[in-house]
Amino acid sequence: MHESMLSYAQRRYLKVAIGLCALSIVAYVWHDPLSPPNGGTWLGYTLGGIGAALILWLTALGVRKRSYSSSLGTLRGWTSAHIYLGLALIVVATLHTGFQFGWNLHTLCYVLMMIVIGSGIFGMVVYLRYPQLMSSNRAGAKPDVLLEEINDLDQRSLRVANEMPRRFGDVLRSNREGTRIGGSTRAILGGLDLSTINLPSAGGSSQQVANPEQAALLDWLADELARSTDGELTKRIGDLLSVIATRRNQLRRLRRDAQIRGWLEIWLYVHVPVTLALIGTLIAHVVSVFLYW
C-alpha cells in the first residue's frame, strides 16, 4: 500500500538509470575517436548535452516541490527519479570528461557536481535511516511533550528542595538555568551536552562546572547522600536523585531528537547552495567551450 521513495513504481527509475548508464558505457567503449576521448567529440557533446539536461531537470525538483497544486506526477515519483537519475549522472558526466582533468573551470564544474551528488547520497541515506531512529527515540512523545515533562520534573524537584537546606534549591535552579539542548550547530549534530551548573565550593562561594548528562549534579547529590546523617534529608536526596536521573534520560532523548533532525536538514545546506554554484559554473563551462574552442 505504501513504500519508500526508492521502491516507487517497482523501481521504474532505477531501470531507466541503469539503461542510461549501460548505453553510455557501450557507446564509450565502442566509440573510437581520432583524438583521445574528450568532451569535444560527437559522443562527448552528446553525453555533455544529456548531462547538462539532467542537471537542469534534477534542479527542477526544487521547483516541483513547491508547485503544490501541480498534478504532474507525485512528489514521491519525482524524488525517486531524482535519486536514480542523479546517480546515473556520475557515469554520464565522467564519460563526458574522457578522464581528462586539470586545474581549470571544466574540472571545477565536475568537482562541484560530484559534491552535489555526494551530499545527495548522504541525504538519501539519512532520509532512509533516520526517520525510524527518530520515531523510536521519541516513542510517541514529541519534543514539546518532553520539554513539558522536564519542566514538571523541575517543579517537582524544587518542591522537594523547599523542605531541604538552601543549597539544594540553589543548585537545582542553577542546573535548570545551565541546561543546554544544542547551543551550536556542532553541538546539535554531535549530540553534545554543553550544560553547566554552579556547585558550592569549599570556600562558601560557588563554582561553575561542566555538567554533561547531569553527571556533575548526580555526583554532587551522591556525595551529599553519602555524608547525610539526617534520615529525612537522606530520603529527600534519594528522591532528588531519581528525579534527576529521569530528567537526564528525557534530556538525552531531546538532544538525540535535535541531532537526528539536524542531520536530516544539514545536508541540504550543502546540496542546494552548491547546486546553484554548479549551475553558474556549468553555464560558464558551456559558454567557454562554444566561444573559445
Binding site: 500500500m1 505504501h2 513504500e3 519508500s4 521513495m5 516507487y8 516541490k65 513547491r66 503544490y68 497544486s69 501541480s70 498534478s71 507525485t74 512528489l75 514521491r76 519525482w78 524524488t79 532520509y127 533516520y130 526517520p131 525510524q132 527518530m134 520515531s135 521519541r138 510517541g140 514529541k142 514539546d144 520539554l147 522536564i150 519542566n151 523541575d154 535548570r176 538555568e177 541546561t179 543546554r180 539542548i181 544544542g182 547551543g183 550547530t185 546539535i188 535535535a258 533532525r261 539536524g262 536530516l264 536538514e265 541540504l268 542546494v272 547552495p273
Partner: protein, 818 residues
C-alpha cells in the same frame, strides 16, 4: 378604541411585517400589534453584526418589504424604512393576551386591558415565546436583562449570568474576557446544553475565568447605593446563603413556548408532542375560520418563507387566490416530465402514486419537491454507480429502475416499480453506494437531498416506518439472499429488530448464547477477544457488513465480544428467523459457510500478528471507526519536512488544515491532526447557515457561507477545525529560493529551558485585528486534480490516506513490519 379593522396582524416578525405592509400597500384597513418597543424582536435579539442568510436561495421574494442576505443591522434598517414607506399602522408595546370571537368579529384583548376588533387575524408570533423572568423580589430593576446584544460592550463589571443552557453558557464565556463573571446554575451539572458548549464552559470554569455556583438559586435583588457595587444579589447555595455584590444580571432561563396562548385562541394541534405543528389549509388558515398562522409557528422557520406567506395570506383574505411563490420553480422542474400537466395535478399524482409521500401534508410536500430534482432518463442510463459517495434519495414517479447488485454478474438485477424508492442505504449509513442503479423504460425519478429526507423522516412517522422496513429487506437481499423475493422477506423483515447502540456499548459478550445476527446499518463495530485476561481487538466491522453469524451457524456460544466504536445502528435477526431464512434459501447456507471460513482465516491471521490488535484499537480510538478517509503518516518514512502542511496551506488560501506534528503515534503509525471525514460528521450537527456539506466524493467541506460562529470547531472531537483569519505573510524570495518557507528549523530553535518554547501554527495573532475568521478544515482537495495535496507533496511516501475498506489490509501490512 372600537373601530374594526379588516386584518389584525399579531407579531411584527418577517411574516407579520410583510402581511401588514401588503395590507397597507393595497389599502386594506389593518393594525400590526407588536409586544415590544421595536419590530422583529427575534432578529433584534441576534448578536450584533450577525450575518442573516436569505435561504432558500432559489425561492423568489414576494413582499413589499425588502430582504436579502446581510447583517442584522442592515435588514432591520430596511424594514424600518419599509414600515414608514408603506405607512404601516404598527402599535408597539401591545401584547395580545387573548383572542376570542369568530370570522368577521374577532376580539383581541391586550395586556393593558384595551381591545382591538378585527374581521381576520394573522398570527405571526414565532416560536421564541416570552423569556422566563427571574421571579424574585427586585427582578424589575434595570440591571436585570434577558438578552445580551454585544458582550464587548461591558468591561470590568461583575456580572451574574443565571441559567445553564446554551445561551447562558455562550454569554458567560463571551463576557468573561473583560469582566468578572458568576454563573448561577440551579442544578449540579450542565445537562441542557450542546456537547460543544459543555466542553467550553467546563474548560472556562476550570481555567478560573467563570465562577460557577452549582445547585444555587436566586433569592432576591436589592439596590445598594453607596455600596462597592450598585446591586446586591442574594443567593441560596447548597452550602448556605451568599450575598453577591454585582453590576448586572443576565437571566437566560429560556422562554415559555407560545403554544398555550395559541391553543387558547381555539387552534388545535394534532398531538401533544411539543414539536407538532397546528394543522393548516393550503391558504394557511387554521381550524378557526378567519384565523391564519404564518412563519415559524406554522412550521416555516426561514425568513423568506415567512415573508412570502405574509403577502400570500393577505391576498387569500382579499379573495385573491394567488399561486404560491414557488409555483414557477416547480413548473420549471416538472416541465420535462412527459405528459406534464399543471403543478398541482403533478403534485397530487406524485402523492397518490408514491406511498411514502401519501401521508405528507401538502405544504410540506411542496417544500420537499422544491429541494428535489426531477430526472427523466433513457433506458439503461446510470443513476448512480456502486461506491459513489452520493447520499441523496430517489423515488420512482414513472417507469422503473433496475438495481445491479453484483458487479461480476451484470445480468443479476432487481427491478423496482413506480412508487418505490431507492438510495436509502447511502442515505442512512452515510457510506458509499452499495449497488449500481440503471434506469428502465419511461423512467422519471425524484431525487431528494439527504437533509430534506431526514426532515421528512423525523416529522412523518409513517414514512420512517416504510423506510426502515425496506432497508431491512434490501439489507437481507444484498447481504445474504440476492435471489430471495421481496414478498418472502417481508415477514422476516417484520420480525427483525432495529437496535441503536451508544459508542462503547456492548452488543454481546464472549461466552453469551448466540441468539441473533446483526447487520450494521450505520456506525461500526469492534470485535474483541479476551486473551490472557486482556481484551484485544481482533477485527473491525464497517457499516453494510454483519456479525454474529458464526454463533448462529454453529449453534454455539459467542466466540468474541462485539462493541460499538461509535453511535451505531444494527438490524438483528433472531435465531428462529435466521433458521427460517436458511430454510427458504438452501443456497444461502453454503454461501454463509464460505463467509465464516474467510472470516476465521482473517481473524487468525490478525491474531498471529501480535501488535495488530493493539494497532486496531489505537486507530479506533483516533476515530477511524467513524472515518471515511483519514490521513496517516508512516513515521519510518517521515523526515519531518512539513511539505504536506505547506502544500495544504498553498492550495487552501494560506492556512494549513492539518498539523503534522500534532496527534498521537503508535508503533510508527502517526495520526496527524487532520479531518477524518466522519460518516455522520459531528461538525455538521449544528451549523446555523448549513455551510458544512458533504460532496459526492465523500469530502466534508466548509462552504463560503460560513459565518464563523465556531460551533463546528467545538463539536469536532478530533480538533481538526480551526477558525482562521487572512493568511500569514509569505517568505521573501531569497529565503524561499534557498530553503523554502520552513517556519521552524532545528538550528533556529530556542535552546534554553528558561525561555518559552514556542510551537508553530495556530496563527491567532496573524492577520488584521477584527478580521472575520471563518472555519477552515480539510476538504480533501476537492476540485483539484491528482487528489489530496498533502499526499502528492510528500517526497518520501510517508503520508497516505486510508478508507475503511482498506483499513484491515493496512493494519495487517503495518503489523507485519514491527
Amino acid at each position: 378604541m372600537t373601530t374594526k379593522v379588516a386584518i389584525a396582524v399579531v407579531g411584527s416578525g418577517p411574516g407579520g411585517l410583510s402581511a401588514a405592509a401588503r395590507a397597507a400597500e393595497v389599502g386594506v384597513s389593518h393594525v400590526l400589534l407588536e409586544q415590544t418597543a421595536a419590530h422583529a424582536n427575534t432578529i433584534q435579539k441576534y448578536q450584533k453584526g450577525k450575518h442573516v442568510m436569505a435561504e432558500p436561495n432559489i425561492l423568489p421574494l414576494r413582499s413589499p418589504m425588502r430582504f436579502e442576505a446581510g447583517t442584522r443591522e442592515k435588514i432591520l434598517g430596511e424594514w424600518s424604512v419599509g414600515l414608514d414607506e408603506h405607512k404601516v399602522n404598527i402599535r408597539y408595546g401591545s401584547e395580545v393576551v387573548g383572542i376570542s370571537g369568530a370570522k368577521g368579529d374577532f376580539h383581541l384583548k391586550l395586556q393593558d386591558g384595551s381591545e382591538v376588533l378585527a374581521e381576520n387575524v394573522i398570527l405571526g408570533i414565532g416560536l421564541q415565546g416570552n423569556p422566563r423572568r427571574l421571579g424574585v423580589p427586585g427582578d424589575g430593576l434595570p440591571c436585570v436583562q434577558y438578552t445580551l446584544d454585544d458582550p464587548d460592550e461591558y468591561k470590568g463589571e461583575t456580572i451574574v449570568v443565571v441559567g445553564a443552557g446554551d445561551a447562558a453558557i455562550e454569554n458567560a464565556v463571551a463576557l468573561s474576557k473583560q469582566n468578572t463573571v458568576y454563573l448561577v446554575n440551579r442544578s449540579g451539572e450542565f445537562s441542557r446544553c450542546k456537547d460543544g458548549n459543555l466542553a467550553l464552559i467546563l474548560k472556562t470554569i476550570e481555567a478560573g475565568k467563570v465562577i460557577c455556583l452549582y445547585s444555587t438559586q436566586c433569592a432576591s435583588l436589592t439596590e445598594t447605593p453607596g455600596g462597592e457595587k450598585p446591586y446586591l444579589l442574594a443567593l441560596n447555595t447548597s452550602t448556605g446563603d451568599l450575598q453577591l455584590p454585582c453590576d448586572r444580571i443576565i437571566a437566560r432561563l429560556g422562554a415559555t413556548p407560545p403554544r398555550k396562548f395559541v391553543e387558547s385562541c381555539g387552534i388545535k394541534f394534532p398531538s401533544s408532542d411539543p414539536t407538532s405543528l397546528p394543522v393548516l389549509s393550503t391558504s394557511y388558515e387554521s381550524n378557526v375560520p378567519g384565523l391564519y398562522v404564518i412563519g415559524a409557528l406554522g412550521g416555516y422557520p426561514l425568513i423568506k418563507q415567512a415573508m412570502n406567506q405574509g403577502y400570500e395570506v393577505v391576498e387569500f383574505i382579499r379573495g385573491n387566490p394567488v399561486a404560491p411563490a414557488d409555483e414557477p420553480l416547480l413548473a420549471a422542474k416538472f416541465a420535462g416530465i412527459p405528459g406534464h400537466r399543471s403543478v398541482s395535478e403533478t403534485l397530487q399524482a406524485m402523492q397518490q402514486r408514491i406511498p411514502l409521500f401519501t401521508e405528507v401534508n401538502p405544504l410540506m410536500f411542496r417544500e420537499l419537491l422544491l429541494g428535489s430534482t426531477i430526472h427523466v432518463l433513457n433506458p439503461g442510463e446510470v443513476v448512480f454507480k456502486r461506491n459513489d459517495y452520493t447520499n441523496s434519495f430517489y423515488t420512482i414517479f414513472n417507469g422503473g429502475v433496475e438495481i445491479q447488485i453484483d458487479d461480476n454478474n451484470p445480468a443479476k438485477r432487481i427491478p423496482l416499480m413506480p412508487g418505490q424508492f431507492f438510495g436509502e442505504m447511502g442515505l442512512l449509513s452515510g457510506r458509499r453506494r452499495t449497488a449500481t442503479v440503471l434506469a428502465g423504460k419511461d423512467c422519471v425519478l425524484i431525487e431528494t437531498p439527504r437533509r430534506d429526507v431526514l426532515k421528512l423522516l423525523s416529522s412523518v412517522d409513517a414514512a420512517r416506518a416504510v423506510i426502515d422496513q425496506t432497508f431491512i429487506v434490501r439489507a437481507i437481499q444484498s447481504g445474504f439472499a440476492p435471489q430471495a423475493k421481496t414478498a418472502d422477506l417481508l415477514p422476516i423483515a417484520a420480525k427483525s429488530k432495529l437496535n441503536r447502540y451508544k459508542a462503547g456499548q456492548v452488543l454481546f459478550s464472549e461466552g453469551d448464547e448466540a441468539d441473533a445476527l446483526h447487520l450494521v446499518r450505520s456506525g461500526s463495530l469492534a470485535v474483541l477477544r479476551s486473551i490472557g485476561g486482556r481484551e484485544i481487538v481482533t477485527s473491525y466491522v464497517a457499516a453494510g457488513n454483519y456479525v454474529g453469524e458464526m454463533g448462529l451457524m454453529g449453534n454455539t456460544r459467542r466466540s468474541a465480544t462485539v462493541r460499538a466504536t461509535v453511535a451505531t445502528e444494527t438490524i438483528s435477526l433472531d435465531a428462529d428467523t435466521f433458521a427460517e431464512l436458511l430454510q427458504k434459501n438452501p443456497a444461502l447456507r453454503s454461501e454463509l459457510e464460505e463467509t465464516v471460513r474467510q472470516r476465521i482465516a482473517s481473524n487468525t491471521r490478525l491474531q498471529g500478528q501480535d501488535n495488530a490488535g493493539a494497532l486496531i484499537s489505537f486507530l479506533l480510538k483516533q476515530g477511524l471507526g467513524e472515518a471515511t478517509d483519514v490521513l496517516l503518516i508512516d513515521e519510518t518514512l517521515c523526515v519531518g519536512c512539513d511539505n504536506c502542511e505547506r502544500a495544504c496551506a498553498a492550495t487552501h488560501g494560506g492556512t494549513s488544515r492539518l498539523d503534522r506534528a500534532a496527534g498521537p503515534t503508535f508503533a510508527n503509525v502517526h495520526v496527524p491532526t487532520s479531518c477524518r471525514h466522519c460518516e455522520d460528521p459531528h461538525c455538521m450537527k449544528d451549523c446555523p447557515p448549513d455551510a458544512i456539506r458533504r460532496s459526492p466524493n465523500g469530502e466534508v467541506f466548509v462552504g463560503d457561507n460560513c459565518i464563523g460562529c465556531g460551533n463546528c470547531e467545538r463539536n469536532c472531537p478530533y480538533g481538526v477545525i480551526q477558525l482562521a483569519g487572512p493568511p500569514p505573510e509569505q517568505p521573501s524570495l531569497a529565503s524561499w529560493l534557498m530553503f523554502g518557507s520552513k517556519k521552524e528549523n532545528v538550528f533556529g530553535e530556542v535552546q534554553g529551558l528558561g525561555r518559552k518554547h514556542h510551537h508553530h501554527h495556530h496563527d491567532d495573532g496573524h492577520g488584521a485585528p477584527k478580521a472575520v475568521k471563518k472555519a477552515v478544515k480539510c476538504d480533501m482537495c476537492k476540485g483539484q486534480d491528482g487528489g489530496p495535496a498533502c499526499v502528492r507533496a510528500c517526497p518520501t511516501g510517508a503520508a497516505l490516506r486510508v478508507s475503511p475498506e482498506e483499513f484491515v489490509a493496512f493494519v495487517q501490512q503495518e503489523a507485519s513490519r514491527f
